[in-house]
Symmetry: C2
Amino acid sequence: MRQATAIIPGFRFAGISAGIKKSSANDLALIFSETPAVTAGVFTTNKIKAAPVKLALKHIASQKGQAIIVNSGNANACTGNRGIKDAKDTIDSLAKELGISPALVYASSTGVIGRPLPIEKIKKAIPELVGSLSPSSLQQVASAIMTTDTFAKLSSRKIRIGGKTGTIAGIAKGAGMICPNMATMLCFIMTDIAIKPQALGSALKDAVQRSFNRIRIDNDMSTNDTAMVMANGLLKNAPITKNSPLYRKFANALDEVTHELSKMIVQDGEGATKLVEIVVKGAGTEGDAEKVARAVADSMLVKTAIYGMDPNWGRIIAATGYSGAKVDENKLDIYLDKIKLVSRGTGTGKEAIARKLLANKDITITINLRSGTKSAKVLTCDLTEKYIEINAHYTT
Amino acid sequence: MRQATAIIPGFRFAGISAGIKKSSANDLALIFSETPAVTAGVFTTNKIKAAPVKLALKHIASQKGQAIIVNSGNANACTGNRGIKDAKDTIDSLAKELGISPALVYASSTGVIGRPLPIEKIKKAIPELVGSLSPSSLQQVASAIMTTDTFAKLSSRKIRIGGKTGTIAGIAKGAGMICPNMATMLCFIMTDIAIKPQALGSALKDAVQRSFNRIRIDNDMSTNDTAMVMANGLLKNAPITKNSPLYRKFANALDEVTHELSKMIVQDGEGATKLVEIVVKGAGTEGDAEKVARAVADSMLVKTAIYGMDPNWGRIIAATGYSGAKVDENKLDIYLDKIKLVSRGTGTGKEAIARKLLANKDITITINLRSGTKSAKVLTCDLTEKYIEINAHYTT
């Protein structure tokens, strides 16, 4: 559910305009936990990392956090020593204003790469930011971190833990085509459920693997990608461990939140009109299944055909063939939703029915290699003129 | 040079309309050598191969050929046993009409995948095709093999071999974005220079590696990609061997022809307005240099920024970072033509000058990793709304 009013006990939120974006849109956000929270994070694997990511990688070693300050409009990446200093200044200023240790503060940035962070604007805005904190302002955070996103992305779940009801709520931003060129993906999740650091880290890593990593190729991360979760334990349940029976319940709820957010990110892909799930079955290895799913999902020819409502399965089969996976043309079946377009490598002539299905907003392409038992799924979207329009003029 | 009137002694050409394309454009072409020619070919590495490619792979074992029949409008790929039968029928009908052995005939197809070849139309057109053969009709062949190409691609060179002047002339078709999703690339080269099969094969393989393989990623070949060369030896020079001093001269001229054709293919990339060369220097290994060049060349964000004349080096550096190559952010320099945009990982503030340079049609992006001595080059083009328009409605 896109829930605009999630309340997570002990967390407060704020989103304001600090004048970083040229527009007057909100561009500075704060997530604050009243008590230090168990904190886990997954960060970009890009060799070039933004300054705030470099600092977060140090802070996260403590497995603790209490505040996350996020700006949009500037990525603070490729900004050299000044970038590091600016990120530290942001953290120190916020920590001072909140009266907490800078070690418990994380900064996160998204926007244009290579321009100095307007640090004076940020420092000047921090008192107002802290003054605006409210338990019901998660929506404002989700909005303030947007770049070319067209809607704020929120998801939450409630689960019963030892007779009490705990909340897991998350927000995210995406945009960009996701595949193959990821604009910055940011995701922040909050919960009042008590959980041990190791269990929280493990649940986050798995959830990211099954959600955000399904909507892009590993190597295609931006310099700023971040997924973080803070668990403040205010539910006062016995802290969940990896071996506790409740771990699976917690992990499943976290999975649902990250899955829903990742789906929203694809739905909001720049210029996208359709959400496309690529399902590969019958592969000899999981690696082969993933190769095929990613090659098809990344194919600009497949993406444009779907936009044009053109059941051009030739482009799907060509991408399957060049994916690098072991493929036997004479065994291959391809489905568009339930319609079998290709049987054992040749067309079934059902293009007319398929064309009608392509009018839908949600489309599933299934490729059965019939060469084994392994499978993989990737989410992608169509490619439209609007994507070009948005990205041809982004920094100007 | 785009030479429309290349004459290669002993070769005749024809291009006519057989009614395969919906438009009345020419769609059937013939290359014929009056005598059997030494023949070499490089074919798609896609696991899914078109029927004519499967047959060509058998015929090429003889290292001989005398005729190549090419149709556009239908790829004869993923057409099962019928596709093989249709390709054989095409070859047999043509061989009969020409009065030569079917083993010396090659078929080649380009167009939509998965539709049966209109074999009756082709067979019916063969007498007219053969009747139209003329030494001066190479241009007609180049036109008849076009799909979404906007201009016919020809290139030729003359070289002195043992006191005589030999000719190497080639035609090609491309279109598609080339990277990362290749539409079918076909290239046919003819020469009257006598050369041994092994030397011809080696020269072709190297030429393709340095030209057509520079404009795409290996795995991204279509089901039909083909580059063939026929040498009929009518110049009567002592046949060139790999060890002969003239081998380098021949290979260089062949390189020039394939390089020129590959450049035309990129210039004619669907909707492209700019030709972009990505040069990577200072890499620790050649593999790393190639990874960076390809990641930058394939980046839709880089391609759209160039289209929008936006010197957004952040997208270049991000692609460099996710390329998988070993990269040290603090050493990295990036140039747009001669303008240094990034020095040791941070911006130089020269965006205004760079923006002016982006008005040019030919652009070079140089990335110096400053971590070694290896380099790589890749040619690509910008990404425009026109590409989407062309590809969203291709089969309809």
